[in-house]
């Protein structure tokens, strides 16, 4: 680590060096790693530390190995491991008294009076991904990939591929791709009937099939400006219900929760997204902007604006502040709860992630190449805040006194280390 020494003054540590030191200490990188003369392969390691205030915590280390082959080909393999602990909102409404909830795995959690009830959980997820990139000629390239992931109650197997071709003297790149995934959901304790008191109707697994199509085009507009349009269509078929979420039944007298029914969602969902992106090179810095419009057959519409501004601090380091704004409308079958005696609809959920929602994210990425170890170190910190609809119009009685969707505060830190060898 460089220290700036001046005669007659105490040694000062610059902000840059302090950040280097912090990142190195967190990553525990051995200082003995040495650069080699002909880089041909690459290893990327990242570790996500994610925490929601009073709710979920996630630790996710990921390692990716990329091997370069002749003729521009490459193969890569990625292994990820998630550990997820904590609690998430069950979908139930708060009451005026203390509520105790036991998860399917036997964990018990208590919610204070007026507090949104949460259900405890613990899960671990392992995922393996592979990609093969192959140029087919000077202007056309292809990618083929697969993924396998497994967690306690969910498994996913999938393949994907895409072909890109450069047109108009390489000013325009068109990409066509797609993927299929066969997922399996096997809820702990069995699958409950939808909109029931939790009666188990199936002990085995439930299938969920996902088909995805991508059409994209990017265009060089000027010496310093690149724009792109991506359009994706995702078709989901099968078991799309969240088996652990519930919907409260409110007393028609005072709104107190007097019972619960299970979540039930349609077995089909078509999702569409249109993404417009721009990368603009200023004199030294780069501005990344994107806007995504999303819509699906569950009547959810969303707008996402993403901004990143990369400022180079020198040849070997940069800082990149980021800002993201997200806004969605509610699913057509979202409800805060049922009033006792009301006729039940075909589908319903109280999962706040399918309700009206806004997310604001702010953060920054800092990346540098240290002097005494080969490779690049990246540190990203983000703060997210989610706002739901805390006072829905169909809340009655005491529910009008509570914030039914309190803001969720989230902090995510990603540490990354990449090197060629």
């Amino acid at each position: 680590m460089r220290l700036q020494l001046e005669p007659g003054k105490a040694p000062k540590v610059s902000l840059r060096d302090a950040l280097h030191g912090a990142a190195l200490a967190l990553l525990m990188i051995p200082a003995t790693a040495q650069a080699q003369s002909t880089p041909s392969d690459r290893i990327d390691v990242t570790s996500l530390l994610y925490g929601e205030q009073g709710r979920t915590e996630v630790v996710e280390p990921v390692v990716r190995f990329t091997h370069l082959l002749p003729d521009g080909q490459s193969v890569s393999a990625q292994l990820a491991f998630d550990v997820i602990t904590g609690a998430s909102p069950s979908g139930a409404l708060p009451s005026g008294t203390v509520q105790t909830r036991t998860s399917a795995s036997g964990h018990v959690i208590t919610s204070k009076a007026g507090q949104i009830p949460v259900a405890p959980f613990h899960d671990e997820r392992v995922e393996l991904e592979g990609t093969w990139h192959k140029p087919l000629n000077r202007l056309v390239s292809s990618d083929l990939g697969f993924h396998v992931s497994r967690e306690k109650d969910y498994q996913s197997l999938g393949i994907n591929g895409k072909v890109s071709t450069e047109l108009m003297r390489r000013l325009l790149t068109v990409t066509i791709g797609g993927g299929v995934s066969h997922d399996t959901v096997f809820p702990t304790g069995g699958t409950p009937a939808g909109l029931s008191d939790g009666t188990i109707v199936k002990l085995g697994s439930n299938a969920k099939n996902v088909t995805n199509v991508l059409l994209g085009a990017s265009r060089i507009v000027s010496r310093q400006w690149l724009v792109a349009v991506n359009s994706t269509e995702t078709l989901e078929r099968g078991y799309l219900t969240e088996p652990y979420k519930v919907i409260s039944i409110m007393s028609h007298v005072n709104g107190t929760p007097i019972g619960e029914l299970t979540d039930k969602r349609p077995s089909t969902r078509n999702r569409s997204a249109l993404l417009l992106s721009s990368v603009y090179h200023l004199t030294d810095d780069v501005l990344y902007t994107s806007y995504r419009y999303y819509w699906d057959t569950w009547s959810i519409r969303s707008h996402t604006i993403d901004l990143k501004y990369r400022h180079d601090l020198g040849d070997d380091s940069y800082i990149e502040p980021l800002f993201r704004y997200y806004q969605q409308s509610a699913a057509s079958f979202y409800t805060v709860g049922f009033v006792e005696g009301a006729t039940l609809p075909d589908f319903a959920t109280s999962d706040y992630r399918l309700g009206r929602l806004r997310t604001i994210t702010a953060g920054a990425t800092y990346s540098f190449r240290p002097d005494f170890v080969t490779g690049e170190i990246t540190l990203r910190g983000q703060y997210m805040r989610q706002f739901g609809n805390g006072s829905p119009s169909n809340a009655i009685g005491i529910q009008r006194n509570f914030d039914l969707s309190p803001p969720v505060n989230i902090v995510a830190v990603v540490l990354g280390y990449s090197f060629d060898y």
């Binding site: 990716r64 591929g161 895409k162 791709g177 997922d183 969605q328």
Partner: protein, 75 residues
């Protein structure tokens, strides 16, 4: 089938829009800035993948970026 046709038309319209955007030709010797790694649409794929995973688990939307990707029971 109707859905797919509508989807194709939407894409063709957006590509046509891209084709007319910026009529000037950028010669190969003027692509020094565009050749920099940071001028990629996704210069940090692993960070992007982490972000997508977080947003997918906390929001109802997905898509726009790429085809395929790992499945997850988080949403």
């Amino acid at each position: 089938m109707i859905k797919m046709t509508r989807y194709l038309w939407r894409f063709i319209a957006t590509v046509a829009l891209l084709l007319v955007a910026g009529c000037a030709t950028v010669q190969p010797w003027d692509r020094d800035l565009l050749a920099e790694k940071k001028m990629s649409l996704n210069p940090s794929p692993m960070l992007q993948a982490v972000d997508e995973h977080i947003y997918f688990s906390k929001e109802a939307s997905m898509g726009g970026m790429d085809a395929g990707g790992g499945g997850c029971g988080c949403n």
